[in-house]
């Protein structure tokens, strides 16, 4: 295809991506270096019969005008990056000096909002992904063993948790685990603890969110594995059977190696999705006990006191995290691409 024709075909799509994905990233990078103007303070001297007093007051009008004229605010360099709400370099250094053990250091880090959010995001990502892989494979193997008639309805039901709007899915589960809901009440009577609430403590909230993540993501792994199972070579399976391999060994040594490329694909998607976990925390109203990088940004942008600078810094750090996650994939694709060209 000629370069010019290519350009005309791709132009609308490329323009949309540059304007609304690439430029916003630049805009975030710029915003992260600025901070809202501080309020203009006027010092006036009032002199009366008993001497002069200095009066300090905030000039609201001047502040508004200043903020109107320069919406970006004032240049702050990397100041926002290192403040207590973000990388908190000073607090981390202090914690490193004072803490007696690694555990203590970790506990101190958990008091800093960004590290707390990072801890949850990473825990969520790296607990949900392997469990989703395992459960997805088990369900796929199970469905593959069913009579053909039953497979359709099972796939239908399985698609529901995945396709439902994440916020709505988490609300549905949230109402069920409510202390007056069906699961919440059953757990209370099962554990004989009438005050049990899954929303009350940090570990229970984390577990709830992770369970939601598994419920939401397993269908994807299941469908992909199920499709992969249809292409497992029958000959190899039969050969393994002749060699005396039992059911478990056939799965372990024939099926799983055949599905390995799919495992890589699902892991990649899960890591990317897990890293931006957001809606469940809103849906479960879990903000008090769990926060992710995305909810930090969301909270900065909401309400009357929007902190663009702060949100931008967290965004840049999140983008760096995504970049780190993606690097191995990009390197691998680059190598494959060069190999096919040679």
């Amino acid at each position: 295809m000629r370069h010019r024709t290519f350009l005309w075909f791709i132009l609308p799509s490329l323009a949309a991506m540059i304007l609304f994905i690439a430029l916003p990233i630049v805009s975030v990078a710029v915003q992260s270096l600025f901070i809202k103007h501080e309020q203009v303070i006027v010092i006036s001297e009032n002199c009366g019969p008993f001497g002069c007093t200095e009066e300090v007051r905030i000039d609201t009008e001047a502040t508004a005008v200043l903020r109107e004229e320069q919406p970006l605010g004032q240049f702050n360099g990397l100041g926002t990056y290192v403040n207590r709400n973000h990388l908190a370099t000073e607090s981390v250094a202090a914690a490193w000096q004072d803490s007696s053990s690694l555990l203590d250091f970790g506990a101190r880090l958990m008091n800093l909002p960004l590290y707390k959010a990072l801890a949850f995001t990473l825990t969520y990502t790296f607990v949900v992904a392997p469990l989703v892989l395992m459960l997805g494979l088990i369900v796929a193997l199970g469905v593959n063993g069913l009579p053909r008639m039953l497979r359709g309805p099972t796939i239908f039901a399985s698609l529901l948790p995945m396709i439902v709007t994440p916020l709505i899915g988490s609300l549905i589960l949230f109402w069920m685990i409510d202390a007056n809901g069906i699961i919440g009440q059953s757990l209370q009577s099962l554990l004989e603890d009438p005050d049990l609430s899954l929303k009350a403590s940090v570990p229970l909230t984390w577990i709830t969110l992770i369970v939601y993540g598994i419920w939401h993501n397993t269908p994807f792994a299941f469908i992909v594995f199920y499709a992969g199972l249809q292409t497992v070579p029958k000959d190899t399976l039969e050969a393994a059977l002749i060699d005396g391999a039992n059911r478990w060994e056939r799965v372990r040594f024939v099926v799983v190696p055949h599905l390995m490329p799919l495992v890589v694909f699902i892991t990649l998607m899960q890591l990317m999705d897990g890293f931006r976990v957001f809606e469940p925390i809103v849906g479960f109203s879990a903000g008090a006990n769990a926060s992710s990088l995305s909810t930090l940004i969301y909270n900065d942008l909401r309400g009357d006191y929007q902190q663009f600078g702060s949100a931008a810094v967290t965004s840049i750090l999140t983008i760096l995290g995504v970049a780190i996650l993606l690097t191995p994939v990009l390197i691998k694709t680059w190598r494959d691409f060069n190999r096919t060209r040679v």
Binding site: M17, L171, G283
Partner: protein, 293 residues
């Protein structure tokens, strides 16, 4: 030998069936339960004394006189004007899917037929863009949109959703077009068509299965979005999902969470219908990216 492979021991069969049955319940029960509960009053769905009240509906009979009540739906749709949000969602979703498919088919076709090195780089760039958390992009939009008075309107949101959709749409359609033989459009060009005419008269008629599958996923992305619609739309332009989220804030003070339950069920119905009609396409779309690498 094939029979030996297919013959399974009874215990293995029983285990696999019970596992699948368990999964079936885990996957579908929450939806059935919430659907059923949406026709009850709060005293039953969130019963203090016994969860079985939600099934028998004791309070519902006492409060409304019937086993089922439409109070939640009435409150949400009429009193809280949820229909407005439904209408907005309809506009946003239809426009987003149409525009992103139009733009995406052109781009995907070009990427599949180019063969130059830069096409590969564009695809890589799209992959990186696809991994960006949407909320980070939103934090880039907000300030400029406020400055230029673009904030709060439906068209802005539609264009943003189209752009966010593009990386995925390009990838998917690109791999569909790779499966359409090159000879088809090239022979048309030998016969004197320009590239665009070849695309218009030869490729468009055969591309619909791929476009429909991609359209389904674009629909889901636009319909399920929360980050963009919640942050970029003003209150009267809100779509369903952010509207439901804001219900939660207001209804808890009124003590009537059933409005939110009814709204949630209403918003799930279209998805349910979608799976019913397009199950095959959804499954094939999910696996298309995976199996091809």
């Amino acid at each position: 030998m094939a029979t030996a492979l297919n013959r399974r021991s009874k215990t293995a069969m029983a285990i696999s069936i019970s596992l699948v049955a368990l999964w079936f319940i885990i996957a579908s029960f929450p939806f059935l339960w919430t659907f059923w509960g949406s026709f009850k009053v709060q005293g039953d769905f969130f019963s203090r004394s016994d969860w079985r009240n939600a099934i028998t509906g004791i309070s519902t009979v006492r409060e409304t006189g019937g086993y089922f009540t439409l109070n939640g739906y009435f409150g949400a749709w009429i009193e809280e004007e949820f229909w407005r949000a439904v209408l907005n969602t309809g506009i946003v979703v239809v426009c987003t899917v149409t525009i992103s498919l139009t733009v995406g088919t052109l781009g995907g076709y070009a990427l599949a037929r180019s063969g130059h090195r830069y096409a590969f780089w564009l695809l890589m760039l799209a992959l990186i863009f696809r991994a960006m958390p949407h909320i980070t992009l939103v934090s880039g939009y907000l300030m400029p949109f406020f400055e230029w008075n673009l904030w709060g309107h439906l068209p802005t949101t539609i264009i943003v959703l189209v752009a966010i959709n593009q990386p995925f749409t390009l990838w998917m359609l690109h791999s569909f077009f790779l499966n359409i033989p090159k000879d088809l459009d090239e022979s048309a060009m030998v016969d004197g068509c320009t590239r665009f005419q070849a695309f218009r008269h030869v490729i468009v008629p055969v591309m619909w299965p791929g476009v429909i599958t991609t359209g389904l996923f674009s629909f889901l992305l636009a319909y399920n979005d929360f980050a963009v619609t919640a942050m970029l739309l003003s209150e009267e332009n809100q779509t369903m999902v952010p509207r439901i989220a804001s219900f939660l804030g207001t209804t808890q003070t009124q003590g009537d969470v059933m409005l939110a339950v009814a709204a949630v069920v209403s918003a799930t119905v279209p998805l349910f219908v979608l799976i019913m009609f397009f199950q095959r396409q959804i499954v094939s779309g999910l696996t298309a990216g995976a199996v091809k690498g």
